[in-house]
Subunit: 286 residues, 2 copies
Protein backbone atom coordinates (compact mmCIF):
# COMPACT_ATOMS: atom_id res chain seq x y z
CA UNK A 1 0.00 0.00 0.00
CA UNK A 2 1.16 3.51 -0.83
CA UNK A 3 2.29 5.37 2.29
CA UNK A 4 0.52 8.63 3.06
CA UNK A 5 2.32 11.79 2.00
CA UNK A 6 2.86 12.59 5.67
CA UNK A 7 5.29 9.66 5.71
CA UNK A 8 7.26 10.42 2.54
CA UNK A 9 10.93 11.13 3.24
CA UNK A 10 12.95 14.09 2.07
CA UNK A 11 15.55 13.50 -0.64
CA UNK A 12 18.23 15.72 -2.14
CA UNK A 13 19.58 16.07 -5.67
CA UNK A 14 22.45 18.30 -6.83
CA UNK A 15 21.86 20.24 -10.05
CA UNK A 16 24.27 21.73 -12.59
CA UNK A 17 23.46 25.23 -11.34
CA UNK A 18 25.08 24.41 -7.98
CA UNK A 19 21.79 24.18 -6.09
CA UNK A 20 20.96 21.15 -3.92
CA UNK A 21 17.22 20.63 -4.25
CA UNK A 22 15.04 19.09 -1.53
CA UNK A 23 12.30 16.89 -3.00
CA UNK A 24 9.90 14.06 -2.29
CA UNK A 25 8.69 11.48 -4.79
CA UNK A 26 6.72 8.29 -5.03
CA UNK A 27 5.44 5.95 -7.70
CA UNK A 28 6.52 4.91 -11.16
CA UNK A 29 5.77 6.02 -14.71
CA UNK A 30 7.45 7.51 -17.75
CA UNK A 31 5.92 10.97 -17.39
CA UNK A 32 5.71 12.09 -13.76
CA UNK A 33 3.46 14.83 -12.44
CA UNK A 34 5.59 17.59 -10.92
CA UNK A 35 4.07 20.01 -8.41
CA UNK A 36 5.05 23.68 -8.04
CA UNK A 37 4.18 25.26 -4.72
CA UNK A 38 2.55 28.55 -3.67
CA UNK A 39 4.01 31.72 -2.12
CA UNK A 40 6.09 30.88 0.98
CA UNK A 41 5.07 27.21 0.85
CA UNK A 42 7.56 24.40 1.39
CA UNK A 43 7.10 20.65 0.91
CA UNK A 44 4.99 20.39 4.05
CA UNK A 45 2.38 22.82 2.71
CA UNK A 46 0.82 20.30 0.32
CA UNK A 47 -2.28 18.86 1.98
CA UNK A 48 -1.69 15.08 2.33
CA UNK A 49 -5.12 13.83 1.12
CA UNK A 50 -4.64 15.64 -2.20
CA UNK A 51 -1.13 14.26 -2.63
CA UNK A 52 -2.25 10.76 -1.70
CA UNK A 53 -5.06 10.89 -4.26
CA UNK A 54 -2.75 12.16 -7.01
CA UNK A 55 0.00 9.64 -6.14
CA UNK A 56 -2.38 6.68 -6.36
CA UNK A 57 -2.23 6.74 -10.15
CA UNK A 58 1.21 8.00 -11.20
CA UNK A 59 4.72 9.00 -10.27
CA UNK A 60 4.54 12.22 -8.32
CA UNK A 61 7.41 14.64 -7.63
CA UNK A 62 7.34 17.61 -5.27
CA UNK A 63 10.34 19.88 -4.69
CA UNK A 64 11.51 23.09 -3.10
CA UNK A 65 12.72 25.51 -5.75
CA UNK A 66 16.13 27.23 -5.36
CA UNK A 67 16.38 29.03 -2.01
CA UNK A 68 13.06 27.65 -0.72
CA UNK A 69 12.72 25.48 2.41
CA UNK A 70 15.27 22.68 2.45
CA UNK A 71 16.89 23.58 -0.90
CA UNK A 72 20.16 25.51 -1.01
CA UNK A 73 20.70 28.69 -2.98
CA UNK A 74 18.84 31.96 -3.05
CA UNK A 75 15.25 32.63 -4.06
CA UNK A 76 15.35 34.79 -7.20
CA UNK A 77 13.08 37.80 -7.61
CA UNK A 78 11.58 36.95 -10.99
CA UNK A 79 9.25 34.18 -12.11
CA UNK A 80 11.41 33.62 -15.20
CA UNK A 81 14.47 32.80 -13.05
CA UNK A 82 12.32 30.54 -10.84
CA UNK A 83 11.33 28.72 -14.04
CA UNK A 84 14.98 28.31 -15.05
CA UNK A 85 15.73 27.01 -11.54
CA UNK A 86 12.90 24.49 -11.86
CA UNK A 87 14.20 23.39 -15.27
CA UNK A 88 17.63 22.82 -13.65
CA UNK A 89 15.98 20.59 -11.04
CA UNK A 90 14.15 18.57 -13.70
CA UNK A 91 17.43 18.14 -15.63
CA UNK A 92 19.13 16.91 -12.45
CA UNK A 93 16.32 14.35 -12.13
CA UNK A 94 16.98 13.17 -15.72
CA UNK A 95 13.44 14.02 -16.78
CA UNK A 96 12.77 14.73 -20.46
CA UNK A 97 9.03 15.32 -20.24
CA UNK A 98 6.68 15.94 -17.33
CA UNK A 99 3.16 16.98 -16.52
CA UNK A 100 3.09 20.05 -14.29
CA UNK A 101 0.62 21.15 -11.63
CA UNK A 102 1.40 24.72 -10.63
CA UNK A 103 -0.43 26.27 -7.70
CA UNK A 104 -0.59 30.08 -7.39
CA UNK A 105 3.02 31.37 -7.71
CA UNK A 106 3.83 27.84 -8.85
CA UNK A 107 1.34 28.26 -11.70
CA UNK A 108 3.15 31.40 -12.84
CA UNK A 109 6.39 29.38 -12.89
CA UNK A 110 4.62 26.61 -14.81
CA UNK A 111 3.59 29.06 -17.54
CA UNK A 112 7.18 30.28 -17.89
CA UNK A 113 8.54 26.72 -18.03
CA UNK A 114 6.13 25.93 -20.88
CA UNK A 115 7.26 29.05 -22.73
CA UNK A 116 11.02 28.71 -22.02
CA UNK A 117 11.30 24.94 -22.57
CA UNK A 118 8.12 23.74 -24.38
CA UNK A 119 9.44 20.24 -25.08
CA UNK A 120 9.74 19.56 -21.35
CA UNK A 121 6.01 19.93 -20.69
CA UNK A 122 3.42 17.38 -21.83
CA UNK A 123 0.43 19.08 -20.21
CA UNK A 124 -0.27 21.54 -17.42
CA UNK A 125 -2.70 22.16 -14.61
CA UNK A 126 -2.85 25.78 -13.49
CA UNK A 127 -4.48 26.15 -10.07
CA UNK A 128 -5.39 29.61 -8.70
CA UNK A 129 -3.57 31.20 -11.58
CA UNK A 130 -3.39 34.36 -13.69
CA UNK A 131 -1.56 35.56 -16.81
CA UNK A 132 1.48 37.81 -16.52
CA UNK A 133 0.46 41.40 -17.17
CA UNK A 134 -3.27 41.07 -16.45
CA UNK A 135 -4.69 44.36 -15.16
CA UNK A 136 -5.94 44.70 -11.60
CA UNK A 137 -3.86 42.18 -9.66
CA UNK A 138 -0.64 44.05 -8.90
CA UNK A 139 0.70 42.97 -5.49
CA UNK A 140 -2.64 41.44 -4.43
CA UNK A 141 -5.27 43.24 -2.38
CA UNK A 142 -3.95 44.89 0.81
CA UNK A 143 -5.88 42.51 3.09
CA UNK A 144 -4.45 39.52 1.23
CA UNK A 145 -0.76 40.39 1.50
CA UNK A 146 -1.43 41.48 5.08
CA UNK A 147 -2.88 38.04 5.83
CA UNK A 148 -0.08 35.98 4.28
CA UNK A 149 2.89 38.35 4.18
CA UNK A 150 3.81 38.88 7.83
CA UNK A 151 7.17 37.67 9.18
CA UNK A 152 5.63 34.88 11.26
CA UNK A 153 3.12 32.38 9.86
CA UNK A 154 -0.46 33.47 10.58
CA UNK A 155 -2.93 30.55 10.62
CA UNK A 156 -5.90 32.93 10.69
CA UNK A 157 -4.56 34.81 7.70
CA UNK A 158 -4.04 31.51 5.86
CA UNK A 159 -7.64 30.51 6.53
CA UNK A 160 -8.95 33.88 5.29
CA UNK A 161 -7.11 33.66 1.96
CA UNK A 162 -7.12 29.93 1.22
CA UNK A 163 -10.69 29.21 2.33
CA UNK A 164 -14.04 30.91 1.87
CA UNK A 165 -15.99 32.55 4.68
CA UNK A 166 -18.63 29.81 4.90
CA UNK A 167 -18.68 27.39 7.84
CA UNK A 168 -18.08 24.50 5.44
CA UNK A 169 -15.03 26.02 3.86
CA UNK A 170 -13.56 27.27 7.14
CA UNK A 171 -14.06 23.83 8.63
CA UNK A 172 -12.20 22.28 5.69
CA UNK A 173 -9.48 24.86 6.20
CA UNK A 174 -9.06 23.94 9.86
CA UNK A 175 -8.60 20.32 8.83
CA UNK A 176 -6.06 21.19 6.14
CA UNK A 177 -4.13 23.39 8.52
CA UNK A 178 -4.08 20.71 11.19
CA UNK A 179 -2.74 18.16 8.72
CA UNK A 180 -0.10 20.54 7.35
CA UNK A 181 1.14 21.67 10.76
CA UNK A 182 1.14 18.23 12.38
CA UNK A 183 3.80 16.59 10.22
CA UNK A 184 6.51 15.20 12.48
CA UNK A 185 8.25 12.69 10.18
CA UNK A 186 11.20 14.31 8.42
CA UNK A 187 9.67 17.79 8.16
CA UNK A 188 10.93 20.34 5.65
CA UNK A 189 12.90 23.46 6.61
CA UNK A 190 10.66 26.53 7.01
CA UNK A 191 10.84 29.18 4.29
CA UNK A 192 12.74 32.28 5.33
CA UNK A 193 12.32 36.05 4.98
CA UNK A 194 14.58 36.22 1.91
CA UNK A 195 12.25 33.79 0.14
CA UNK A 196 9.20 35.80 1.23
CA UNK A 197 10.68 39.07 -0.02
CA UNK A 198 11.93 37.84 -3.39
CA UNK A 199 8.83 35.75 -4.07
CA UNK A 200 6.69 38.80 -3.40
CA UNK A 201 8.92 40.89 -5.68
CA UNK A 202 8.30 38.29 -8.37
CA UNK A 203 4.53 38.33 -7.72
CA UNK A 204 4.44 42.14 -7.98
CA UNK A 205 6.47 42.13 -11.20
CA UNK A 206 4.13 39.47 -12.62
CA UNK A 207 1.20 41.74 -11.80
CA UNK A 208 2.52 44.88 -13.50
CA UNK A 209 -0.30 45.67 -15.93
CA UNK A 210 0.92 45.02 -19.48
CA UNK A 211 -1.79 44.14 -21.94
CA UNK A 212 0.71 43.19 -24.66
CA UNK A 213 2.18 40.44 -22.49
CA UNK A 214 -1.14 38.59 -22.42
CA UNK A 215 -0.51 37.59 -26.00
CA UNK A 216 2.40 35.32 -25.12
CA UNK A 217 -0.09 32.72 -23.84
CA UNK A 218 -1.09 32.06 -27.44
CA UNK A 219 2.26 30.24 -27.77
CA UNK A 220 1.33 27.59 -25.19
CA UNK A 221 0.17 24.68 -27.33
CA UNK A 222 -0.14 22.05 -24.61
CA UNK A 223 -3.47 20.94 -23.21
CA UNK A 224 -4.08 22.98 -20.06
CA UNK A 225 -6.57 22.50 -17.24
CA UNK A 226 -7.31 25.72 -15.36
CA UNK A 227 -8.99 25.65 -11.96
CA UNK A 228 -9.83 28.05 -9.14
CA UNK A 229 -12.15 28.61 -6.22
CA UNK A 230 -15.15 30.82 -6.93
CA UNK A 231 -14.28 33.19 -4.07
CA UNK A 232 -10.48 33.37 -4.26
CA UNK A 233 -9.53 36.81 -2.87
CA UNK A 234 -5.85 36.47 -3.85
CA UNK A 235 -6.24 35.66 -7.56
CA UNK A 236 -9.75 36.33 -8.78
CA UNK A 237 -11.55 33.66 -10.85
CA UNK A 238 -11.79 36.10 -13.77
CA UNK A 239 -8.08 35.51 -14.36
CA UNK A 240 -8.79 31.81 -14.83
CA UNK A 241 -11.27 32.77 -17.55
CA UNK A 242 -8.66 35.04 -19.08
CA UNK A 243 -6.16 32.17 -19.18
CA UNK A 244 -8.79 29.88 -20.69
CA UNK A 245 -9.56 32.45 -23.38
CA UNK A 246 -5.91 33.11 -24.25
CA UNK A 247 -4.43 29.60 -24.12
CA UNK A 248 -5.62 27.86 -27.31
CA UNK A 249 -6.27 24.39 -25.80
CA UNK A 250 -7.64 24.96 -22.33
CA UNK A 251 -10.51 23.84 -20.17
CA UNK A 252 -11.56 25.66 -17.01
CA UNK A 253 -13.45 24.72 -13.87
CA UNK A 254 -14.42 26.97 -10.99
CA UNK A 255 -15.07 25.15 -7.69
CA UNK A 256 -17.94 26.36 -5.48
CA UNK A 257 -17.77 27.75 -1.95
CA UNK A 258 -13.98 27.89 -2.12
CA UNK A 259 -11.07 30.30 -2.23
CA UNK A 260 -7.32 30.16 -3.02
CA UNK A 261 -6.93 26.68 -1.51
CA UNK A 262 -9.86 25.11 -3.41
CA UNK A 263 -7.65 22.12 -4.35
CA UNK A 264 -7.14 21.24 -0.68
CA UNK A 265 -10.79 21.79 0.25
CA UNK A 266 -12.10 19.81 -2.73
CA UNK A 267 -9.17 17.36 -2.78
CA UNK A 268 -11.12 14.31 -3.97
CA UNK A 269 -13.04 16.12 -6.70
CA UNK A 270 -9.96 17.99 -7.88
CA UNK A 271 -7.80 14.84 -7.94
CA UNK A 272 -10.49 13.08 -9.98
CA UNK A 273 -10.60 16.02 -12.40
CA UNK A 274 -6.81 15.90 -12.70
CA UNK A 275 -6.97 12.14 -13.36
CA UNK A 276 -9.53 12.66 -16.11
CA UNK A 277 -7.56 15.50 -17.64
CA UNK A 278 -4.24 13.64 -17.62
CA UNK A 279 -5.84 10.47 -19.00
CA UNK A 280 -7.06 12.45 -22.00
CA UNK A 281 -4.02 14.68 -22.47
CA UNK A 282 -2.23 13.83 -25.70
CA UNK A 283 1.52 13.59 -26.07
CA UNK A 284 3.09 16.97 -26.76
CA UNK A 285 5.59 17.29 -29.58
CA UNK A 286 7.33 20.60 -29.27
CA UNK B 1 -52.69 36.80 -20.67
CA UNK B 2 -49.60 37.72 -22.67
CA UNK B 3 -49.92 36.73 -26.33
CA UNK B 4 -47.25 34.44 -27.73
CA UNK B 5 -44.49 36.09 -29.73
CA UNK B 6 -45.86 34.44 -32.85
CA UNK B 7 -48.84 36.81 -32.49
CA UNK B 8 -46.99 40.06 -31.85
CA UNK B 9 -47.57 42.61 -34.58
CA UNK B 10 -44.96 44.57 -36.50
CA UNK B 11 -44.63 48.27 -35.76
CA UNK B 12 -42.59 51.02 -37.37
CA UNK B 13 -40.76 54.03 -35.96
CA UNK B 14 -38.93 56.77 -37.89
CA UNK B 15 -35.54 57.79 -36.55
CA UNK B 16 -33.50 60.98 -36.94
CA UNK B 17 -31.08 59.18 -39.29
CA UNK B 18 -33.87 58.79 -41.87
CA UNK B 19 -34.34 55.07 -41.28
CA UNK B 20 -37.78 53.59 -40.61
CA UNK B 21 -37.21 50.73 -38.17
CA UNK B 22 -39.42 47.63 -37.97
CA UNK B 23 -39.87 46.45 -34.39
CA UNK B 24 -42.06 44.43 -32.06
CA UNK B 25 -42.61 45.09 -28.38
CA UNK B 26 -44.69 44.00 -25.44
CA UNK B 27 -44.93 44.68 -21.74
CA UNK B 28 -44.24 47.61 -19.46
CA UNK B 29 -41.32 48.79 -17.36
CA UNK B 30 -38.88 51.68 -17.05
CA UNK B 31 -35.86 49.77 -18.41
CA UNK B 32 -36.78 47.46 -21.29
CA UNK B 33 -34.72 44.55 -22.51
CA UNK B 34 -33.70 45.14 -26.13
CA UNK B 35 -32.68 42.21 -28.33
CA UNK B 36 -30.06 42.35 -31.09
CA UNK B 37 -30.28 39.62 -33.71
CA UNK B 38 -27.75 37.29 -35.35
CA UNK B 39 -26.26 37.26 -38.89
CA UNK B 40 -29.03 37.39 -41.51
CA UNK B 41 -31.75 37.06 -38.90
CA UNK B 42 -34.89 39.18 -38.96
CA UNK B 43 -37.65 39.55 -36.35
CA UNK B 44 -39.05 36.11 -37.18
CA UNK B 45 -35.76 34.38 -36.29
CA UNK B 46 -36.25 34.71 -32.53
CA UNK B 47 -37.63 31.41 -31.23
CA UNK B 48 -41.08 32.20 -29.69
CA UNK B 49 -40.72 30.16 -26.44
CA UNK B 50 -37.59 32.15 -25.49
CA UNK B 51 -39.27 35.46 -26.27
CA UNK B 52 -42.42 34.46 -24.37
CA UNK B 53 -40.37 33.52 -21.31
CA UNK B 54 -38.40 36.78 -21.40
CA UNK B 55 -41.53 38.88 -22.00
CA UNK B 56 -43.31 37.41 -18.99
CA UNK B 57 -41.31 39.60 -16.62
CA UNK B 58 -40.48 42.84 -18.41
CA UNK B 59 -40.94 45.14 -21.36
CA UNK B 60 -39.25 43.51 -24.34
CA UNK B 61 -38.26 45.22 -27.59
CA UNK B 62 -37.02 43.50 -30.74
CA UNK B 63 -36.10 45.36 -33.92
CA UNK B 64 -34.53 45.09 -37.35
CA UNK B 65 -31.42 47.23 -37.58
CA UNK B 66 -30.95 49.62 -40.53
CA UNK B 67 -31.25 47.76 -43.83
CA UNK B 68 -32.34 44.50 -42.21
CA UNK B 69 -35.68 42.77 -42.91
CA UNK B 70 -38.59 45.21 -42.68
CA UNK B 71 -36.46 48.27 -41.82
CA UNK B 72 -35.52 50.78 -44.49
CA UNK B 73 -32.00 51.93 -45.25
CA UNK B 74 -28.85 50.00 -46.05
CA UNK B 75 -26.98 47.51 -43.88
CA UNK B 76 -23.58 49.05 -43.07
CA UNK B 77 -20.37 46.99 -43.31
CA UNK B 78 -18.99 47.73 -39.83
CA UNK B 79 -20.18 46.76 -36.37
CA UNK B 80 -19.52 50.29 -35.15
CA UNK B 81 -22.00 51.75 -37.69
CA UNK B 82 -24.52 49.06 -36.78
CA UNK B 83 -24.15 50.22 -33.18
CA UNK B 84 -24.78 53.83 -34.15
CA UNK B 85 -27.83 52.71 -36.15
CA UNK B 86 -29.11 50.83 -33.08
CA UNK B 87 -28.54 53.91 -30.92
CA UNK B 88 -30.60 55.93 -33.42
CA UNK B 89 -33.44 53.42 -33.06
CA UNK B 90 -33.32 53.62 -29.25
CA UNK B 91 -33.38 57.43 -29.46
CA UNK B 92 -36.43 57.25 -31.75
CA UNK B 93 -38.09 55.08 -29.10
CA UNK B 94 -37.37 57.74 -26.43
CA UNK B 95 -35.32 55.29 -24.35
CA UNK B 96 -32.67 56.64 -21.99
CA UNK B 97 -31.48 53.36 -20.55
CA UNK B 98 -31.96 49.75 -21.58
CA UNK B 99 -30.75 46.26 -20.86
CA UNK B 100 -29.37 44.60 -23.98
CA UNK B 101 -29.30 40.98 -25.05
CA UNK B 102 -27.04 40.63 -28.07
CA UNK B 103 -26.89 37.31 -29.91
CA UNK B 104 -23.85 36.55 -32.12
CA UNK B 105 -23.42 39.53 -34.49
CA UNK B 106 -25.92 41.27 -32.21
CA UNK B 107 -23.54 40.72 -29.29
CA UNK B 108 -20.75 42.46 -31.20
CA UNK B 109 -23.10 45.41 -31.75
CA UNK B 110 -24.02 45.33 -28.04
CA UNK B 111 -20.34 45.69 -27.06
CA UNK B 112 -19.94 48.67 -29.36
CA UNK B 113 -23.11 50.32 -28.02
CA UNK B 114 -21.74 49.99 -24.47
CA UNK B 115 -18.45 51.55 -25.55
CA UNK B 116 -19.91 54.30 -27.77
CA UNK B 117 -22.83 55.30 -25.47
CA UNK B 118 -22.18 53.80 -21.99
CA UNK B 119 -24.99 55.74 -20.29
CA UNK B 120 -27.55 54.04 -22.50
CA UNK B 121 -26.77 50.54 -21.22
CA UNK B 122 -27.72 49.33 -17.74
CA UNK B 123 -26.51 45.77 -18.19
CA UNK B 124 -25.77 43.36 -21.02
CA UNK B 125 -26.20 39.73 -21.95
CA UNK B 126 -23.75 38.54 -24.61
CA UNK B 127 -24.86 35.27 -26.19
CA UNK B 128 -22.52 33.32 -28.53
CA UNK B 129 -20.10 36.22 -28.47
CA UNK B 130 -16.43 37.14 -28.90
CA UNK B 131 -14.23 40.21 -28.46
CA UNK B 132 -13.18 42.29 -31.45
CA UNK B 133 -9.65 41.34 -32.49
CA UNK B 134 -9.47 37.90 -30.85
CA UNK B 135 -7.14 35.62 -32.78
CA UNK B 136 -8.42 32.59 -34.66
CA UNK B 137 -11.96 33.55 -35.60
CA UNK B 138 -11.54 35.58 -38.80
CA UNK B 139 -14.49 34.95 -41.14
CA UNK B 140 -15.58 31.82 -39.26
CA UNK B 141 -14.58 28.29 -40.25
CA UNK B 142 -15.16 27.44 -43.95
CA UNK B 143 -17.87 24.87 -43.15
CA UNK B 144 -19.71 27.45 -40.99
CA UNK B 145 -19.94 30.24 -43.56
CA UNK B 146 -20.74 27.60 -46.15
CA UNK B 147 -23.66 26.42 -44.00
CA UNK B 148 -25.17 29.85 -43.30
CA UNK B 149 -23.81 32.05 -46.08
CA UNK B 150 -25.48 30.78 -49.24
CA UNK B 151 -27.94 32.96 -51.18
CA UNK B 152 -30.99 30.90 -50.22
CA UNK B 153 -31.80 29.89 -46.63
CA UNK B 154 -30.47 26.40 -45.88
CA UNK B 155 -32.35 24.69 -43.01
CA UNK B 156 -29.76 21.90 -42.82
CA UNK B 157 -26.93 24.41 -42.58
CA UNK B 158 -28.82 26.26 -39.84
CA UNK B 159 -29.22 23.03 -37.88
CA UNK B 160 -25.49 22.20 -38.23
CA UNK B 161 -24.34 25.57 -36.88
CA UNK B 162 -27.03 26.44 -34.35
CA UNK B 163 -27.44 22.96 -32.83
CA UNK B 164 -25.05 20.23 -31.72
CA UNK B 165 -24.72 16.88 -33.48
CA UNK B 166 -26.53 14.91 -30.75
CA UNK B 167 -30.03 13.58 -31.30
CA UNK B 168 -31.31 15.75 -28.47
CA UNK B 169 -29.90 18.95 -29.85
CA UNK B 170 -30.90 18.23 -33.45
CA UNK B 171 -34.40 17.42 -32.24
CA UNK B 172 -34.58 20.76 -30.44
CA UNK B 173 -33.30 22.41 -33.59
CA UNK B 174 -36.05 20.87 -35.71
CA UNK B 175 -38.61 22.27 -33.27
CA UNK B 176 -37.02 25.73 -33.30
CA UNK B 177 -36.87 25.75 -37.08
CA UNK B 178 -40.49 24.67 -37.37
CA UNK B 179 -41.63 27.45 -35.03
CA UNK B 180 -39.53 30.08 -36.81
CA UNK B 181 -40.63 29.11 -40.31
CA UNK B 182 -44.32 28.64 -39.48
CA UNK B 183 -45.14 32.23 -38.51
CA UNK B 184 -48.07 33.40 -40.63
CA UNK B 185 -49.32 36.41 -38.64
CA UNK B 186 -47.71 39.61 -39.89
CA UNK B 187 -44.35 38.06 -40.85
CA UNK B 188 -41.22 40.16 -41.26
CA UNK B 189 -39.56 40.88 -44.61
CA UNK B 190 -36.74 38.43 -45.41
CA UNK B 191 -33.19 39.75 -45.18
CA UNK B 192 -31.59 40.34 -48.56
CA UNK B 193 -28.20 39.71 -50.18
CA UNK B 194 -26.97 43.24 -49.43
CA UNK B 195 -27.55 42.58 -45.74
CA UNK B 196 -25.77 39.22 -45.98
CA UNK B 197 -22.75 40.71 -47.74
CA UNK B 198 -22.29 43.75 -45.50
CA UNK B 199 -22.97 41.81 -42.29
CA UNK B 200 -20.34 39.30 -43.30
CA UNK B 201 -17.91 42.12 -44.12
CA UNK B 202 -18.51 43.39 -40.59
CA UNK B 203 -17.99 39.93 -39.09
CA UNK B 204 -14.69 39.53 -40.97
CA UNK B 205 -13.46 42.96 -39.91
CA UNK B 206 -14.42 42.15 -36.29
CA UNK B 207 -12.33 38.97 -36.56
CA UNK B 208 -9.14 40.61 -37.85
CA UNK B 209 -6.60 39.51 -35.25
CA UNK B 210 -5.56 42.54 -33.21
CA UNK B 211 -4.42 41.76 -29.68
CA UNK B 212 -4.34 45.43 -28.69
CA UNK B 213 -8.06 45.80 -29.36
CA UNK B 214 -8.91 43.24 -26.68
CA UNK B 215 -8.01 45.86 -24.09
CA UNK B 216 -11.00 48.06 -24.94
CA UNK B 217 -13.25 45.63 -23.07
CA UNK B 218 -11.71 46.85 -19.81
CA UNK B 219 -13.78 50.02 -20.32
CA UNK B 220 -17.10 48.18 -20.08
CA UNK B 221 -18.14 48.73 -16.47
CA UNK B 222 -21.65 47.33 -16.64
CA UNK B 223 -22.55 43.93 -15.24
CA UNK B 224 -22.37 41.47 -18.12
CA UNK B 225 -23.70 37.92 -18.42
CA UNK B 226 -21.84 35.88 -21.04
CA UNK B 227 -23.30 32.64 -22.36
CA UNK B 228 -22.61 30.11 -25.09
CA UNK B 229 -23.13 26.51 -26.11
CA UNK B 230 -20.28 24.13 -25.33
CA UNK B 231 -20.01 23.00 -28.94
CA UNK B 232 -20.60 26.22 -30.89
CA UNK B 233 -18.68 25.81 -34.19
CA UNK B 234 -19.27 29.43 -35.25
CA UNK B 235 -17.93 31.25 -32.18
CA UNK B 236 -15.95 28.92 -29.93
CA UNK B 237 -16.70 28.91 -26.18
CA UNK B 238 -13.10 30.02 -25.47
CA UNK B 239 -14.09 33.48 -26.68
CA UNK B 240 -16.75 33.60 -23.96
CA UNK B 241 -14.00 32.93 -21.42
CA UNK B 242 -11.90 35.62 -23.03
CA UNK B 243 -14.77 38.11 -22.68
CA UNK B 244 -15.30 37.06 -19.06
CA UNK B 245 -11.62 37.59 -18.31
CA UNK B 246 -11.42 40.99 -19.99
CA UNK B 247 -14.72 42.57 -18.90
CA UNK B 248 -14.26 43.55 -15.24
CA UNK B 249 -17.74 42.62 -14.00
CA UNK B 250 -18.78 39.51 -15.86
CA UNK B 251 -20.21 36.09 -15.20
CA UNK B 252 -20.09 33.28 -17.73
CA UNK B 253 -22.09 30.11 -18.31
CA UNK B 254 -21.53 27.43 -20.93
CA UNK B 255 -24.58 25.32 -21.75
CA UNK B 256 -24.12 21.59 -22.38
CA UNK B 257 -24.84 19.61 -25.55
CA UNK B 258 -25.47 22.82 -27.47
CA UNK B 259 -24.07 25.01 -30.23
CA UNK B 260 -24.60 28.54 -31.56
CA UNK B 261 -28.34 28.48 -30.84
CA UNK B 262 -28.02 27.29 -27.22
CA UNK B 263 -30.46 30.01 -26.10
CA UNK B 264 -33.21 28.54 -28.30
CA UNK B 265 -32.43 24.94 -27.33
CA UNK B 266 -32.24 25.75 -23.59
CA UNK B 267 -34.89 28.49 -23.73
CA UNK B 268 -36.35 27.90 -20.28
CA UNK B 269 -33.01 27.59 -18.48
CA UNK B 270 -31.53 30.55 -20.31
CA UNK B 271 -34.58 32.76 -19.66
CA UNK B 272 -34.38 31.87 -15.96
CA UNK B 273 -30.67 32.74 -15.93
CA UNK B 274 -31.44 36.05 -17.63
CA UNK B 275 -34.18 36.74 -15.05
CA UNK B 276 -31.75 36.06 -12.21
CA UNK B 277 -29.04 38.19 -13.79
CA UNK B 278 -31.31 41.16 -14.47
CA UNK B 279 -32.88 40.96 -11.01
CA UNK B 280 -29.41 41.37 -9.48
CA UNK B 281 -27.98 43.86 -11.99
CA UNK B 282 -27.41 47.23 -10.33
CA UNK B 283 -28.22 50.54 -11.90
CA UNK B 284 -25.42 51.80 -14.11
CA UNK B 285 -24.24 55.38 -13.74
CA UNK B 286 -22.04 56.24 -16.66
Amino acid sequence: MTPSYSQWSNKMVSAANGVDYAFRELGAGAVPLVLLQHFRGNLDYWDPPLIDALAARRRLILFDNAGVGGSSGTTPSTVAQMARDAIAFLAAMDLDQVDILGFSLGSFIAQDIALIRPALVRSMILASSAPQGAAGMHGWAPEVIDAVGKPDPDPDGYLRVFFAASTTSQGAGQETLQRILSRTTDPDEPTNWQTRQHQYDAVCAWGEPNHALLQRLSAIDQQVFIANGDGDPMILPRYSYLLAGLIPNATVKIYPDAAHGFLFQHHDEFATDVDTFLAEAPAHNA
